[in-house]
Protein backbone atom coordinates (compact mmCIF):
# COMPACT_ATOMS: atom_id res chain seq x y z
CA UNK A 1 0.00 0.00 0.00
CA UNK A 2 2.66 2.50 1.04
CA UNK A 3 4.85 1.44 -1.90
CA UNK A 4 2.35 2.51 -4.50
CA UNK A 5 1.00 5.49 -2.58
CA UNK A 6 4.34 7.24 -2.10
CA UNK A 7 5.31 8.05 -5.72
CA UNK A 8 1.76 8.99 -6.61
CA UNK A 9 1.71 11.53 -3.84
CA UNK A 10 4.94 13.13 -5.06
CA UNK A 11 3.64 13.38 -8.59
CA UNK A 12 0.36 14.85 -7.47
CA UNK A 13 2.25 17.52 -5.56
CA UNK A 14 4.35 18.43 -8.55
CA UNK A 15 1.23 18.46 -10.72
CA UNK A 16 -0.84 20.69 -8.49
CA UNK A 17 1.99 23.14 -7.93
CA UNK A 18 2.02 24.18 -11.59
CA UNK A 19 -1.68 24.05 -12.45
CA UNK A 20 -3.75 27.20 -12.64
CA UNK A 21 -7.53 27.06 -12.01
CA UNK A 22 -8.14 27.56 -15.73
CA UNK A 23 -5.90 24.61 -16.56
CA UNK A 24 -7.81 22.52 -14.05
CA UNK A 25 -11.08 23.38 -15.76
CA UNK A 26 -9.45 22.65 -19.11
CA UNK A 27 -8.20 19.22 -18.12
CA UNK A 28 -11.50 18.34 -16.42
CA UNK A 29 -13.43 19.23 -19.57
CA UNK A 30 -10.85 17.29 -21.57
CA UNK A 31 -11.43 14.22 -19.46
CA UNK A 32 -15.22 14.51 -19.45
CA UNK A 33 -16.18 15.99 -22.84
CA UNK A 34 -19.93 15.82 -22.12
CA UNK A 35 -19.56 18.12 -19.11
CA UNK A 36 -19.74 21.38 -21.06
CA UNK A 37 -22.97 20.53 -22.94
CA UNK A 38 -24.47 19.29 -19.66
CA UNK A 39 -23.71 22.61 -17.97
CA UNK A 40 -25.13 24.54 -20.94
CA UNK A 41 -28.31 22.44 -20.94
CA UNK A 42 -28.93 22.90 -17.21
CA UNK A 43 -28.18 26.64 -17.41
CA UNK A 44 -30.51 27.05 -20.39
CA UNK A 45 -33.31 25.20 -18.62
CA UNK A 46 -32.94 27.36 -15.51
CA UNK A 47 -32.95 30.58 -17.55
CA UNK A 48 -35.99 29.60 -19.63
CA UNK A 49 -37.89 28.51 -16.54
CA UNK A 50 -37.23 31.92 -15.00
CA UNK A 51 -38.37 33.64 -18.22
CA UNK A 52 -41.59 31.63 -18.51
CA UNK A 53 -42.84 29.12 -15.94
CA UNK A 54 -44.71 27.24 -18.67
CA UNK A 55 -41.34 25.99 -19.89
CA UNK A 56 -41.16 23.31 -17.20
CA UNK A 57 -44.75 22.08 -17.57
CA UNK A 58 -45.00 18.35 -18.38
CA UNK A 59 -46.73 19.17 -21.64
CA UNK A 60 -43.88 21.31 -22.83
CA UNK A 61 -41.19 18.88 -21.64
CA UNK A 62 -42.98 16.06 -23.50
CA UNK A 63 -43.22 18.23 -26.59
CA UNK A 64 -39.50 18.97 -26.47
CA UNK A 65 -38.59 15.27 -26.45
CA UNK A 66 -40.78 14.86 -29.53
CA UNK A 67 -39.20 17.87 -31.20
CA UNK A 68 -35.77 16.31 -30.58
CA UNK A 69 -36.49 12.81 -31.85
CA UNK A 70 -35.69 13.12 -35.58
CA UNK A 71 -32.54 15.22 -35.25
CA UNK A 72 -31.56 13.26 -32.15
CA UNK A 73 -31.72 9.89 -33.88
CA UNK A 74 -29.95 11.08 -37.03
CA UNK A 75 -27.28 12.72 -34.87
CA UNK A 76 -26.24 9.25 -33.64
CA UNK A 77 -25.27 8.40 -37.22
CA UNK A 78 -23.61 11.78 -37.66
CA UNK A 79 -21.60 11.29 -34.44
CA UNK A 80 -20.19 7.97 -35.66
CA UNK A 81 -19.14 9.57 -38.95
CA UNK A 82 -17.68 12.71 -37.37
CA UNK A 83 -15.70 10.62 -34.85
CA UNK A 84 -13.85 9.15 -37.85
CA UNK A 85 -13.01 12.74 -38.89
CA UNK A 86 -15.59 12.53 -41.66
CA UNK A 87 -18.87 14.29 -42.20
CA UNK A 88 -22.14 13.13 -43.72
CA UNK A 89 -24.05 15.79 -45.64
CA UNK A 90 -26.34 13.18 -47.18
CA UNK A 91 -27.96 12.03 -43.92
CA UNK A 92 -31.19 13.93 -44.61
CA UNK A 93 -31.34 12.72 -48.21
CA UNK A 94 -30.86 9.09 -47.16
CA UNK A 95 -33.52 9.47 -44.47
CA UNK A 96 -36.01 10.89 -47.01
CA UNK A 97 -35.14 8.13 -49.49
CA UNK A 98 -35.67 5.52 -46.79
CA UNK A 99 -39.04 6.84 -45.68
CA UNK A 100 -40.28 7.22 -49.26
CA UNK A 101 -39.29 3.59 -49.93
CA UNK A 102 -41.19 2.51 -46.83
CA UNK A 103 -44.30 4.58 -47.56
CA UNK A 104 -44.50 3.75 -51.27
CA UNK A 105 -44.14 0.02 -50.56
CA UNK A 106 -46.69 -0.01 -47.76
CA UNK A 107 -49.32 2.24 -49.29
CA UNK A 108 -52.46 0.35 -50.27
CA UNK A 109 -52.31 -0.90 -53.86
CA UNK A 110 -55.86 0.33 -54.47
CA UNK A 111 -55.08 3.99 -53.74
CA UNK A 112 -54.80 6.40 -56.67
CA UNK A 113 -51.47 7.24 -58.27
CA UNK A 114 -49.48 4.56 -56.50
CA UNK A 115 -46.43 2.82 -57.91
CA UNK A 116 -46.56 -0.82 -59.02
CA UNK A 117 -44.54 -1.77 -55.93
CA UNK A 118 -47.36 -0.69 -53.58
CA UNK A 119 -49.32 -3.00 -51.35
CA UNK A 120 -46.53 -4.76 -49.45
CA UNK A 121 -46.87 -5.68 -45.83
CA UNK A 122 -45.69 -2.88 -43.53
CA UNK A 123 -43.01 -5.13 -42.00
CA UNK A 124 -41.49 -5.79 -45.43
CA UNK A 125 -41.72 -2.08 -46.23
CA UNK A 126 -39.88 -1.07 -43.06
CA UNK A 127 -37.14 -3.68 -43.52
CA UNK A 128 -36.62 -2.76 -47.18
CA UNK A 129 -36.57 0.95 -46.31
CA UNK A 130 -33.87 0.33 -43.72
CA UNK A 131 -31.90 -1.84 -46.17
CA UNK A 132 -32.04 0.89 -48.82
CA UNK A 133 -30.70 3.38 -46.25
CA UNK A 134 -27.87 0.95 -45.41
CA UNK A 135 -27.15 0.52 -49.10
CA UNK A 136 -26.98 4.30 -49.49
CA UNK A 137 -24.55 4.40 -46.54
CA UNK A 138 -22.53 1.65 -48.21
CA UNK A 139 -22.34 3.75 -51.40
CA UNK A 140 -20.91 6.63 -49.37
CA UNK A 141 -18.51 4.29 -47.63
CA UNK A 142 -17.40 2.69 -50.89
CA UNK A 143 -16.67 6.04 -52.54
CA UNK A 144 -14.78 7.28 -49.48
CA UNK A 145 -12.77 4.11 -48.87
CA UNK A 146 -12.18 2.68 -52.35
CA UNK A 147 -11.78 5.91 -54.29
CA UNK A 148 -10.14 7.72 -51.34
CA UNK A 149 -12.38 10.74 -51.81
CA UNK A 150 -12.95 13.19 -48.96
CA UNK A 151 -16.22 12.47 -47.09
CA UNK A 152 -17.31 16.08 -47.48
CA UNK A 153 -17.19 15.87 -51.28
CA UNK A 154 -18.67 12.38 -51.50
CA UNK A 155 -21.65 13.17 -49.31
CA UNK A 156 -22.15 16.56 -50.95
CA UNK A 157 -22.51 14.65 -54.20
CA UNK A 158 -24.69 11.88 -52.83
CA UNK A 159 -26.87 14.49 -51.10
CA UNK A 160 -27.90 15.62 -54.59
CA UNK A 161 -27.93 12.11 -56.04
CA UNK A 162 -30.11 10.55 -53.33
CA UNK A 163 -32.46 13.56 -53.33
CA UNK A 164 -32.83 13.34 -57.10
CA UNK A 165 -33.29 9.56 -56.99
CA UNK A 166 -36.09 9.99 -54.48
CA UNK A 167 -37.86 12.49 -56.72
CA UNK A 168 -37.34 10.39 -59.86
CA UNK A 169 -38.38 7.08 -58.33
CA UNK A 170 -41.32 8.31 -56.33
CA UNK A 171 -42.56 11.18 -58.57
CA UNK A 172 -42.22 13.69 -55.73
CA UNK A 173 -45.58 12.54 -54.42
CA UNK A 174 -46.45 12.97 -50.74
CA UNK A 175 -48.09 9.92 -49.20
CA UNK A 176 -50.76 11.22 -46.85
CA UNK A 177 -51.25 9.87 -43.34
CA UNK A 178 -54.53 8.00 -43.91
CA UNK A 179 -52.94 6.04 -46.80
CA UNK A 180 -50.13 4.75 -44.59
CA UNK A 181 -50.58 1.56 -42.52
CA UNK A 182 -50.51 2.03 -38.75
CA UNK A 183 -47.31 0.07 -38.18
CA UNK A 184 -45.38 2.65 -40.20
CA UNK A 185 -46.76 5.42 -38.01
CA UNK A 186 -46.44 3.60 -34.69
CA UNK A 187 -43.28 5.52 -33.70
CA UNK A 188 -45.39 8.66 -33.48
CA UNK A 189 -47.79 7.16 -30.94
CA UNK A 190 -47.32 8.13 -27.34
CA UNK A 191 -48.07 6.60 -23.97
CA UNK A 192 -48.49 8.36 -20.65
CA UNK A 193 -46.24 8.26 -17.63
CA UNK A 194 -48.01 10.46 -15.12
CA UNK A 195 -48.47 13.82 -16.80
CA UNK A 196 -45.82 13.07 -19.47
CA UNK A 197 -46.56 11.94 -23.01
CA UNK A 198 -43.74 9.69 -24.19
CA UNK A 199 -43.54 8.89 -27.90
CA UNK A 200 -42.38 5.39 -28.86
CA UNK A 201 -39.89 6.97 -31.23
CA UNK A 202 -38.28 8.75 -28.27
CA UNK A 203 -37.84 5.42 -26.49
CA UNK A 204 -36.27 3.92 -29.61
CA UNK A 205 -33.96 6.92 -29.88
CA UNK A 206 -32.86 6.58 -26.25
CA UNK A 207 -32.27 2.84 -26.67
CA UNK A 208 -30.13 3.56 -29.75
CA UNK A 209 -28.12 6.12 -27.76
CA UNK A 210 -27.56 3.55 -25.00
CA UNK A 211 -26.49 0.87 -27.50
CA UNK A 212 -24.06 3.10 -29.36
CA UNK A 213 -22.67 4.67 -26.19
CA UNK A 214 -21.91 1.12 -25.07
CA UNK A 215 -20.38 0.20 -28.42
CA UNK A 216 -18.11 3.24 -28.44
CA UNK A 217 -16.99 2.73 -24.84
CA UNK A 218 -16.69 -0.98 -24.51
CA UNK A 219 -16.03 -2.70 -27.82
CA UNK A 220 -12.97 -2.97 -30.03
CA UNK A 221 -14.94 -1.50 -32.96
CA UNK A 222 -15.71 1.57 -30.85
CA UNK A 223 -12.06 1.99 -29.86
CA UNK A 224 -11.04 1.63 -33.50
CA UNK A 225 -13.50 4.35 -34.56
CA UNK A 226 -11.78 6.77 -32.19
CA UNK A 227 -8.32 5.62 -33.32
CA UNK A 228 -9.15 6.01 -37.03
CA UNK A 229 -10.54 9.51 -36.48
CA UNK A 230 -7.70 10.53 -34.23
CA UNK A 231 -4.73 9.54 -36.38
CA UNK A 232 -5.43 7.24 -39.35
CA UNK A 233 -1.73 6.52 -40.04
CA UNK A 234 -1.12 5.55 -36.43
CA UNK A 235 -4.23 3.36 -36.46
CA UNK A 236 -3.08 1.65 -39.64
CA UNK A 237 0.42 1.05 -38.25
CA UNK A 238 -1.15 -0.29 -35.06
CA UNK A 239 -2.69 -3.03 -37.15
CA UNK A 240 -6.21 -1.66 -37.50
CA UNK A 241 -7.87 -2.20 -40.86
CA UNK A 242 -8.82 1.46 -41.19
CA UNK A 243 -10.66 1.00 -44.47
CA UNK A 244 -12.90 -1.68 -43.04
CA UNK A 245 -13.64 0.45 -39.98
CA UNK A 246 -14.53 3.46 -42.16
CA UNK A 247 -16.74 1.46 -44.50
CA UNK A 248 -18.57 -0.22 -41.63
CA UNK A 249 -19.21 3.15 -39.98
CA UNK A 250 -21.06 4.40 -43.07
CA UNK A 251 -23.11 1.19 -43.34
CA UNK A 252 -24.04 1.27 -39.66
CA UNK A 253 -24.92 4.95 -39.93
CA UNK A 254 -27.22 3.93 -42.82
CA UNK A 255 -28.94 1.50 -40.44
CA UNK A 256 -29.52 4.28 -37.89
CA UNK A 257 -30.77 6.63 -40.63
CA UNK A 258 -33.20 3.92 -41.77
CA UNK A 259 -34.64 3.62 -38.27
CA UNK A 260 -34.83 7.43 -38.12
CA UNK A 261 -36.83 7.33 -41.36
CA UNK A 262 -39.39 5.08 -39.69
CA UNK A 263 -39.54 7.39 -36.67
CA UNK A 264 -39.95 10.41 -38.97
CA UNK A 265 -43.02 8.93 -40.68
CA UNK A 266 -44.58 8.49 -37.25
CA UNK A 267 -43.60 11.90 -35.97
CA UNK A 268 -44.70 13.78 -39.10
CA UNK A 269 -47.69 11.55 -39.84
CA UNK A 270 -47.06 11.46 -43.59
CA UNK A 271 -44.20 10.75 -45.98
CA UNK A 272 -43.08 13.70 -48.04
CA UNK A 273 -39.87 14.26 -50.01
CA UNK A 274 -39.75 17.78 -48.57
CA UNK A 275 -39.67 16.84 -44.91
CA UNK A 276 -36.99 18.48 -42.75
CA UNK A 277 -34.96 20.39 -45.36
CA UNK A 278 -32.34 21.61 -42.86
CA UNK A 279 -31.85 18.28 -41.15
CA UNK A 280 -28.23 17.74 -42.31
CA UNK A 281 -26.95 20.91 -40.73
CA UNK A 282 -29.16 20.37 -37.67
CA UNK A 283 -27.49 17.02 -36.97
CA UNK A 284 -24.03 18.57 -37.33
CA UNK A 285 -25.11 21.37 -34.99
CA UNK A 286 -26.24 18.86 -32.35
CA UNK A 287 -23.01 16.84 -32.64
CA UNK A 288 -20.79 19.92 -32.40
CA UNK A 289 -22.68 21.49 -29.49
CA UNK A 290 -22.44 18.09 -27.84
CA UNK A 291 -18.67 18.43 -27.65
CA UNK A 292 -17.66 16.07 -30.45
CA UNK A 293 -14.68 17.37 -32.38
CA UNK A 294 -15.09 17.92 -36.13
CA UNK A 295 -11.45 16.83 -36.44
CA UNK A 296 -12.36 13.36 -35.26
CA UNK A 297 -11.32 11.04 -32.48
CA UNK A 298 -13.04 12.91 -29.68
CA UNK A 299 -16.63 12.92 -28.51
CA UNK A 300 -19.36 10.92 -26.87
CA UNK A 301 -22.89 9.75 -27.62
CA UNK A 302 -24.25 11.28 -24.41
CA UNK A 303 -22.73 14.61 -25.53
CA UNK A 304 -24.61 14.44 -28.82
CA UNK A 305 -27.89 13.66 -27.03
CA UNK A 306 -27.28 16.68 -24.80
CA UNK A 307 -26.41 18.74 -27.89
CA UNK A 308 -29.66 17.77 -29.62
CA UNK A 309 -31.60 18.60 -26.45
CA UNK A 310 -29.85 21.97 -26.12
CA UNK A 311 -30.95 22.96 -29.64
CA UNK A 312 -34.55 22.04 -28.84
CA UNK A 313 -34.50 23.71 -25.44
CA UNK A 314 -33.06 26.94 -26.79
CA UNK A 315 -35.54 27.10 -29.68
CA UNK A 316 -38.50 26.16 -27.52
CA UNK A 317 -37.46 28.39 -24.63
CA UNK A 318 -36.88 31.45 -26.79
CA UNK A 319 -40.21 30.87 -28.51
CA UNK A 320 -41.97 30.70 -25.15
CA UNK A 321 -40.14 33.87 -24.11
CA UNK A 322 -41.81 35.51 -27.09
CA UNK A 323 -38.74 35.93 -29.27
CA UNK A 324 -38.89 35.90 -33.03
CA UNK A 325 -37.64 32.88 -35.02
CA UNK A 326 -34.66 34.93 -36.22
CA UNK A 327 -33.37 35.26 -32.65
CA UNK A 328 -33.60 31.51 -32.15
CA UNK A 329 -31.50 30.91 -35.25
CA UNK A 330 -29.06 33.54 -34.02
CA UNK A 331 -28.76 31.84 -30.63
CA UNK A 332 -28.05 28.43 -32.18
CA UNK A 333 -25.38 29.99 -34.38
CA UNK A 334 -23.67 31.54 -31.36
CA UNK A 335 -23.82 28.21 -29.55
CA UNK A 336 -22.13 26.38 -32.44
CA UNK A 337 -19.26 28.86 -32.58
CA UNK A 338 -18.87 28.80 -28.80
CA UNK A 339 -18.84 25.00 -28.80
CA UNK A 340 -16.12 24.78 -31.47
CA UNK A 341 -14.05 27.49 -29.76
CA UNK A 342 -14.32 25.54 -26.51
CA UNK A 343 -13.28 22.36 -28.31
CA UNK A 344 -10.19 24.05 -29.72
CA UNK A 345 -9.24 25.30 -26.27
CA UNK A 346 -9.78 21.91 -24.66
CA UNK A 347 -7.62 20.23 -27.32
CA UNK A 348 -4.64 22.34 -26.29
CA UNK A 349 -4.59 20.61 -22.90
CA UNK A 350 -1.17 19.96 -21.40
CA UNK A 351 -0.15 17.38 -18.88
Amino acid sequence: MSDSAAPQHDLAEEFSSRTSPMQKIQSTLHRYPYLSPLIVLIAAMIIFTLLNERFLLPNNLSLMTQQTVIVGTLAIAQTLVILTAGIDLSIGAIMVLGQMVMANLAVSAGASNVLPIAGQSPVVAIILGILVAMLAGAVNGFLIVKLSLPPFIVTLGTLSIFTALTLILFKARTIQGPEIPDLLKVMGNAFSIGPFQIMYGVIVMLVLYAIFAYILRSTAWGTHIYAVGDDPQAAELSGINTKRVLFSVYVVSGLIIGIAAWITIGRVGSASPNVAPNINLDTITAVVIGGTSLFGGRGTMIGTLLGALIVTVVENGLALAGLDQAYRVLAIGVLVIAAVALDQWIRRVKS
Binding site: S218, Y226, A235
Partner: protein
Protein backbone atom coordinates in the same frame (compact mmCIF):
# COMPACT_ATOMS: atom_id res chain seq x y z
CA UNK B 1 29.18 -20.98 -32.24
CA UNK B 2 29.26 -20.00 -35.89
CA UNK B 3 26.11 -22.00 -36.62
CA UNK B 4 23.92 -19.58 -34.67
CA UNK B 5 20.90 -18.86 -36.84
CA UNK B 6 19.74 -15.28 -37.28
CA UNK B 7 16.34 -14.54 -35.68
CA UNK B 8 15.58 -12.21 -38.53
CA UNK B 9 17.19 -11.83 -41.90
CA UNK B 10 16.65 -10.40 -45.35
CA UNK B 11 18.36 -11.29 -48.62
CA UNK B 12 18.53 -9.24 -51.78
CA UNK B 13 15.64 -7.00 -50.81
CA UNK B 14 14.53 -4.57 -53.51
CA UNK B 15 12.00 -1.82 -52.99
CA UNK B 16 11.30 0.97 -55.45
CA UNK B 17 8.92 3.90 -55.26
CA UNK B 18 8.28 4.75 -58.87
CA UNK B 19 11.70 5.84 -60.14
CA UNK B 20 13.11 6.26 -56.66
CA UNK B 21 15.11 3.25 -55.54
CA UNK B 22 14.73 2.61 -51.81
CA UNK B 23 16.46 -0.74 -51.55
CA UNK B 24 18.74 -2.21 -54.15
CA UNK B 25 19.54 -5.76 -53.08
CA UNK B 26 19.85 -5.15 -49.37
CA UNK B 27 20.84 -7.84 -46.86
CA UNK B 28 20.39 -7.83 -43.12
CA UNK B 29 20.95 -10.34 -40.34
CA UNK B 30 19.93 -10.01 -36.73
CA UNK B 31 21.25 -12.57 -34.24
CA UNK B 32 19.68 -13.65 -30.95
CA UNK B 33 20.12 -11.35 -27.99
CA UNK B 34 21.89 -8.54 -29.80
CA UNK B 35 21.27 -4.89 -30.47
CA UNK B 36 21.87 -4.26 -34.16
CA UNK B 37 22.12 -0.59 -35.03
CA UNK B 38 21.25 0.46 -38.58
CA UNK B 39 22.89 3.68 -39.66
CA UNK B 40 23.18 5.47 -42.95
CA UNK B 41 22.85 8.83 -44.62
CA UNK B 42 19.47 10.26 -45.50
CA UNK B 43 18.01 8.27 -48.37
CA UNK B 44 20.28 5.30 -47.79
CA UNK B 45 17.24 3.12 -47.24
CA UNK B 46 17.34 2.60 -43.46
CA UNK B 47 13.67 3.24 -42.89
CA UNK B 48 12.65 1.44 -46.07
CA UNK B 49 14.64 -1.59 -44.97
CA UNK B 50 13.09 -1.86 -41.55
CA UNK B 51 9.62 -1.03 -42.84
CA UNK B 52 9.82 -4.17 -44.95
CA UNK B 53 10.39 -6.16 -41.77
CA UNK B 54 7.64 -4.37 -39.88
CA UNK B 55 5.10 -4.93 -42.64
CA UNK B 56 4.62 -1.26 -43.52
CA UNK B 57 6.29 -1.78 -46.93
CA UNK B 58 6.09 -4.80 -49.19
CA UNK B 59 9.44 -5.43 -50.92
CA UNK B 60 9.38 -5.80 -54.73
CA UNK B 61 11.66 -8.82 -54.50
CA UNK B 62 13.96 -10.60 -52.11
CA UNK B 63 13.44 -12.95 -49.20
CA UNK B 64 12.79 -12.37 -45.53
CA UNK B 65 13.13 -14.89 -42.72
CA UNK B 66 11.91 -14.75 -39.15
CA UNK B 67 13.11 -17.52 -36.87
CA UNK B 68 14.33 -19.44 -39.90
CA UNK B 69 10.90 -19.36 -41.53
CA UNK B 70 10.40 -17.59 -44.85
CA UNK B 71 7.85 -14.80 -44.45
CA UNK B 72 6.01 -12.21 -46.50
CA UNK B 73 4.25 -9.40 -44.65
CA UNK B 74 1.36 -7.62 -46.31
CA UNK B 75 0.54 -5.52 -43.26
CA UNK B 76 1.93 -4.56 -39.88
CA UNK B 77 -0.63 -6.95 -38.44
CA UNK B 78 1.04 -9.89 -40.18
CA UNK B 79 4.49 -8.85 -38.97
CA UNK B 80 3.14 -8.62 -35.43
CA UNK B 81 1.69 -12.11 -35.72
CA UNK B 82 5.23 -13.32 -36.40
CA UNK B 83 6.46 -11.60 -33.26
CA UNK B 84 8.06 -8.61 -35.00
CA UNK B 85 7.06 -5.40 -33.20
CA UNK B 86 8.03 -1.95 -34.41
CA UNK B 87 8.18 1.39 -32.68
CA UNK B 88 7.77 3.74 -35.61
CA UNK B 89 9.35 7.14 -35.73
CA UNK B 90 5.89 8.64 -35.53
CA UNK B 91 5.21 6.28 -32.59
CA UNK B 92 1.86 5.25 -34.10
CA UNK B 93 0.00 6.00 -30.90
CA UNK B 94 -3.50 7.40 -30.83
CA UNK B 95 -3.33 10.66 -28.83
CA UNK B 96 -6.95 10.76 -27.70
CA UNK B 97 -6.97 7.19 -26.39
CA UNK B 98 -5.67 6.27 -22.97
CA UNK B 99 -2.45 4.39 -22.30
CA UNK B 100 -4.06 0.98 -21.87
CA UNK B 101 -6.14 1.34 -25.05
CA UNK B 102 -2.99 2.29 -26.95
CA UNK B 103 -1.03 -0.68 -25.66
CA UNK B 104 -3.79 -3.00 -26.83
CA UNK B 105 -4.78 -1.07 -29.97
CA UNK B 106 -5.60 -3.56 -32.73
CA UNK B 107 -5.47 -6.58 -30.39
CA UNK B 108 -8.04 -5.76 -27.75
CA UNK B 109 -8.93 -8.45 -25.26
CA UNK B 110 -12.59 -9.29 -24.69
CA UNK B 111 -14.14 -10.35 -21.44
CA UNK B 112 -14.26 -14.11 -20.99
CA UNK B 113 -17.47 -16.05 -21.42
CA UNK B 114 -20.91 -14.98 -22.54
CA UNK B 115 -20.47 -11.20 -22.15
CA UNK B 116 -17.34 -11.13 -24.27
CA UNK B 117 -18.72 -13.46 -26.92
CA UNK B 118 -22.20 -12.02 -27.38
CA UNK B 119 -21.80 -8.36 -26.41
CA UNK B 120 -18.14 -8.24 -27.41
CA UNK B 121 -17.39 -6.38 -24.22
CA UNK B 122 -13.73 -5.47 -23.79
CA UNK B 123 -11.91 -6.54 -20.67
CA UNK B 124 -10.83 -2.99 -19.80
CA UNK B 125 -9.92 -3.84 -16.24
CA UNK B 126 -7.70 -6.69 -17.30
CA UNK B 127 -6.04 -4.67 -20.07
CA UNK B 128 -5.36 -1.81 -17.67
CA UNK B 129 -3.83 -4.06 -15.05
CA UNK B 130 -1.66 -5.78 -17.66
CA UNK B 131 -0.64 -2.42 -19.16
CA UNK B 132 0.44 -1.19 -15.75
CA UNK B 133 2.49 -4.35 -15.33
CA UNK B 134 4.13 -3.94 -18.75
CA UNK B 135 5.08 -0.36 -17.97
CA UNK B 136 6.56 -1.20 -14.59
CA UNK B 137 8.38 -4.20 -16.11
CA UNK B 138 10.30 -1.68 -18.17
CA UNK B 139 10.89 0.51 -15.15
CA UNK B 140 8.57 3.23 -16.39
CA UNK B 141 7.11 4.37 -13.12
CA UNK B 142 6.58 7.96 -14.15
CA UNK B 143 3.19 7.35 -15.67
CA UNK B 144 0.76 7.95 -12.86
CA UNK B 145 -2.53 6.98 -14.42
CA UNK B 146 -3.04 4.23 -16.96
CA UNK B 147 -6.38 5.80 -18.02
CA UNK B 148 -4.66 9.05 -18.96
CA UNK B 149 -4.96 10.10 -22.61
CA UNK B 150 -1.62 9.73 -24.38
CA UNK B 151 -1.77 13.35 -25.58
CA UNK B 152 -1.40 14.50 -21.98
CA UNK B 153 1.98 12.75 -21.73
CA UNK B 154 5.40 14.22 -22.42
CA UNK B 155 7.38 13.16 -25.50
CA UNK B 156 9.52 10.76 -23.49
CA UNK B 157 6.51 9.20 -21.81
CA UNK B 158 4.81 8.68 -25.17
CA UNK B 159 7.95 7.02 -26.44
CA UNK B 160 7.92 4.83 -23.36
CA UNK B 161 4.32 3.82 -24.07
CA UNK B 162 5.23 2.90 -27.64
CA UNK B 163 8.28 0.91 -26.48
CA UNK B 164 6.24 -0.81 -23.79
CA UNK B 165 3.68 -1.84 -26.39
CA UNK B 166 6.40 -3.37 -28.55
CA UNK B 167 8.07 -5.04 -25.58
CA UNK B 168 4.78 -6.44 -24.32
CA UNK B 169 3.90 -8.20 -27.54
CA UNK B 170 7.17 -8.68 -29.43
CA UNK B 171 8.20 -12.28 -29.07
CA UNK B 172 10.97 -12.37 -31.71
CA UNK B 173 12.28 -8.92 -32.54
CA UNK B 174 11.73 -5.31 -31.57
CA UNK B 175 12.50 -2.62 -34.13
CA UNK B 176 12.98 0.97 -33.03
CA UNK B 177 13.02 3.65 -35.73
CA UNK B 178 14.81 6.80 -34.59
CA UNK B 179 13.49 6.50 -31.05
CA UNK B 180 15.47 9.45 -29.70
CA UNK B 181 15.17 11.85 -32.62
CA UNK B 182 12.55 14.02 -30.94
CA UNK B 183 13.73 13.65 -27.36
CA UNK B 184 15.85 15.65 -24.96
CA UNK B 185 19.04 14.42 -23.34
CA UNK B 186 17.48 12.90 -20.25
CA UNK B 187 14.62 11.29 -22.13
CA UNK B 188 17.04 9.88 -24.73
CA UNK B 189 19.11 8.34 -21.97
CA UNK B 190 16.00 6.68 -20.59
CA UNK B 191 15.06 5.22 -23.98
CA UNK B 192 18.60 3.89 -24.45
CA UNK B 193 18.35 2.30 -21.04
CA UNK B 194 15.10 0.67 -22.22
CA UNK B 195 16.95 -0.73 -25.23
CA UNK B 196 19.63 -2.20 -22.96
CA UNK B 197 16.98 -3.62 -20.65
CA UNK B 198 15.28 -5.30 -23.60
CA UNK B 199 18.57 -6.90 -24.64
CA UNK B 200 19.25 -7.99 -21.07
CA UNK B 201 15.91 -9.78 -21.16
CA UNK B 202 17.15 -11.62 -24.25
CA UNK B 203 15.14 -9.66 -26.80
CA UNK B 204 16.96 -8.88 -30.05
CA UNK B 205 16.60 -5.23 -31.05
CA UNK B 206 17.11 -3.35 -34.29
CA UNK B 207 17.84 0.31 -33.63
CA UNK B 208 17.76 2.87 -36.40
CA UNK B 209 19.51 6.06 -35.42
CA UNK B 210 21.36 9.09 -36.68
CA UNK B 211 23.05 9.63 -33.38
CA UNK B 212 26.56 8.11 -33.51
CA UNK B 213 27.41 8.36 -29.80
CA UNK B 214 24.15 6.61 -28.94
CA UNK B 215 24.73 3.92 -31.53
CA UNK B 216 28.23 3.26 -30.28
CA UNK B 217 26.95 3.19 -26.72
CA UNK B 218 24.29 0.51 -27.08
CA UNK B 219 24.92 -1.47 -30.28
CA UNK B 220 26.59 -4.86 -30.41
CA UNK B 221 26.94 -4.66 -34.17
CA UNK B 222 26.39 -1.78 -36.57
CA UNK B 223 24.85 -2.26 -40.00
CA UNK B 224 25.87 0.59 -42.31
CA UNK B 225 23.39 1.21 -45.08
CA UNK B 226 24.45 3.07 -48.21
CA UNK B 227 22.69 3.64 -51.54
CA UNK B 228 20.01 1.08 -50.84
CA UNK B 229 22.29 -1.76 -49.76
CA UNK B 230 24.51 -2.89 -46.94
CA UNK B 231 27.90 -1.19 -47.13
CA UNK B 232 29.39 -2.94 -44.10
CA UNK B 233 28.73 -4.46 -40.70
CA UNK B 234 31.10 -3.26 -38.00
CA UNK B 235 31.25 -3.26 -34.21
CA UNK B 236 32.04 -0.47 -31.75
CA UNK B 237 35.13 -2.48 -30.78
CA UNK B 238 36.66 -2.84 -34.25
CA UNK B 239 35.78 0.52 -35.74
CA UNK B 240 35.50 4.15 -34.66
CA UNK B 241 32.75 6.66 -35.21
CA UNK B 242 34.87 8.28 -37.88
CA UNK B 243 35.12 4.96 -39.68
CA UNK B 244 31.36 4.62 -39.53
CA UNK B 245 30.82 8.06 -41.02
CA UNK B 246 33.39 7.33 -43.70
CA UNK B 247 31.62 4.12 -44.67
CA UNK B 248 28.28 5.92 -44.68
CA UNK B 249 29.56 8.53 -47.10
CA UNK B 250 31.52 6.11 -49.24
CA UNK B 251 34.94 7.48 -48.31
CA UNK B 252 35.88 4.11 -46.84
CA UNK B 253 35.04 0.61 -47.98
CA UNK B 254 35.52 -2.36 -45.71
CA UNK B 255 36.56 -5.72 -47.03
CA UNK B 256 34.06 -8.49 -46.28
CA UNK B 257 36.74 -10.35 -44.35
CA UNK B 258 37.09 -7.43 -41.94
CA UNK B 259 33.37 -7.16 -41.26
CA UNK B 260 31.43 -8.69 -38.42
CA UNK B 261 28.76 -10.43 -40.46
CA UNK B 262 28.19 -13.19 -37.91
CA UNK B 263 27.19 -12.77 -34.28
CA UNK B 264 29.66 -11.00 -32.03
CA UNK B 265 32.16 -13.45 -30.56
CA UNK B 266 31.59 -16.01 -33.28
CA UNK B 267 34.56 -14.92 -35.39
CA UNK B 268 36.91 -14.88 -32.42
Amino acid sequence: MTDVQPVLSGHNLVKTFGKVVGLNGANLELYPGEVLAVIGDNGAGKSTLIKCFSGAHIPDSGEMFVGGESVTFKSTQEARQHGVETVFQTLAVSPALDIASNLYLGREVRKPGFVGKVFRTLDKKGMRAASKQHLSDLGIGTVQNITQAVETLSGGQRQAVAVARAAAFGSQVIILDEPTAALGVRESARVLQLVKDLRDRGMPVILISHNMPQVFEVADRIHVQRLGRRAAVITPQTHTMNDAVAIMTGALTVDEADQTLGPVGAAA
